[in-house]
Symmetry: C2
């Protein structure tokens, strides 16, 4: 296989010129550029791209941290990230963390060791004391409100959107309102928990731990929720479900056992996934694909830290 | 930041010894190894991992080609791949092709240029004449029967599984059977098309183009299928749907407009996704997570080409 010296010799130029052509450097005459490209073509030259990147200090790889690769919420986010990456000739290195801190730290270390150019964290498990140790090594972009930190972020205001959803249910006559959420900790869960507590105290309702359902991520979790609901003496009359897939699972399980929606139980989803449209689920639309695109562009933007709040929209259908 | 020379000086050893320690080379005395590790720790030395990989010729990255990042079928495959990669300390570089050949070629070129150690193609768009040009550069693993090629593969026999599904429907009294599939071309579509044609000629039924529904990938496509069905003078009495999500969409849309399942229309899915369990959809179980794990292990296996056929299982529920 021809190396860079062979190419230079064949093209009648210096090794530096070949390197400049390979790296799209300016200040190479058109004649020399063509001679190099011809020599490369004729000798079937294989660049060692790692070496090229090493000299340029970039990998054209963007790291993406997700807790699960196989969840529709992260599916839409990654779809947006992947589409925008494709357009800009970047590839994604995928980190599935299962919400284990060590996995997230591995991703941060790949940024530290320059194996990726920047890192997008779609849902964070590590505390800021850890993230902050890595911000000097390259752009870190988060999908949460991170305006006070040395990173970029694209986010929705979970406190306000949760409050609006709760008020909507209350205006429809519900005061026994519960909610279903993915995990107990995490910044969005905390914001939503606060919105819920503030809502209850505004409408003078007692906090009832039974009304909160954790680990509610997938279609199949709907079954558990409905089983628990049917065993309650005083069940909620409305549920806010923080993702549409779980909401669809709840609606389906309710149908199975004759709980009428919305008469016996009102259901409000989140995201506006395709399944919510078909199943006529009232939901809060979160433009996840657009958010994914934005995250990728912020990752490419490098040094400049930007923060963009994305607004959500209520989609009224038939489950409230 | 300390470089390798600083470390060598600090540890009182040669640069070669430091490099050997970094690369887990044998023949380094325990005393020297400890001195190097201590010097590294004390000087907060940042290895340039790309340089390390360059010298070892490996990246610890495995490429994964999928047509869509956001589809439950590929979601489960990638989940299996990602879990096994995590265990083995490999990371995934994700290529979303949208079934565009150029995107797949980009992935193959990353293998050629040693930017990834091996490549898993979950669903192929390029012809073998292209794939074959890249098999010399590193392990390529396919999720289709590729026993005659210079690659590894994990696959199911689509001809036999489709035939079995069709015969099952026929034994239940159906002879007007149609099917829904993702794309017209592709090796699995061809095998299934052949199984369908052979089935029809076995039961002496005429081939009816109207009974085949393409581009049937997602929940929302169920609506289109049901709309087309309701406009037919002589609709099929049973549908084989090559993925459960689309099957769930069809079942949901049928409910909407009063088509009774299985009385008016029998539905049989594929994959045994969680949604099929909740919605009681009869389906052929394909162990996608297990297949994903296998694909990753084959990718790590390097030179040795192996081929593993995975068997499917009929799960009888309530839609046939």
């Amino acid at each position: 296989m021809a190396n860079i010296k062979d190419i230079a010799k064949k093209a009648g130029v210096s090794v530096t010129t070949v390197s400049r052509v390979l790296n799209n450097h300016p200040y190479v005459s058109e004649g020399k550029r063509k001679a190099v490209l011809l020599a490369i073509e004729e000798s079937n030259y294989q660049r060692n791209i790692n070496a090229v990147h090493l000299s340029k200090g970039e990998t054209l790889l963007i790291g993406v941290v997700v807790p699960f690769t196989n969840h529709p919420y992260f599916g839409l986010l990654v779809e947006g990230i992947a589409n925008e990456a494709m357009k800009n000739n970047y590839k994604l290195v995928l980190f599935q963390t299962n919400y284990e801190a060590d996995r997230e730290i591995e991703a941060l270390k790949m940024l530290q060791y320059k194996q990726i150019d920047s890192l997008i964290i779609c849902s964070r498990i590590c505390g800021w004391e850890i993230i902050n140790q890595f911000t000097e090594y390259g752009p870190i972009v988060l999908c949460e409100d991170a305006r006070n930190h040395n990173v970029s972020s694209t986010f929705i205001d979970h406190y306000i959107s949760f409050t609006n959803a709760l008020e909507y249910l209350h205006n429809k006559g519900h005061y026994k309102v519960g909610y279903c959420i993915g995990r107990k900790s995490g910044s969005s869960s905390r914001q939503r928990g606060k919105a819920y507590a503030d809502f209850l105290s505004r409408i003078n309702e007692r906090y009832n731990e039974e009304y909160i359902f954790y680990e509610c991520l997938n279609f199949e979790h709907g079954e558990d929720v409905v089983r628990r609901l049917s065993s309650m003496d005083n069940p909620p009359t409305a549920l806010l479900v923080t993702n549409d897939i779980a909401a669809a699972g709840i609606v389906t399980s309710c149908r199975e056992i004759g709980i009428r929606i919305p008469d016996d139980l009102a259901i409000m989803g989140f995201d506006n996934q395709p399944i919510s449209k078909i199943m006529h689920i009232t939901t809060l639309e979160i433009p996840l694909v657009q958010m994914g695109r934005n995250l990728l562009l912020q990752a490419l933007d490098g040094e400049k830290h930007t923060h963009e709040e994305i607004s959500v929209k209520l989609i009224e259908r038939q489950t409230v």
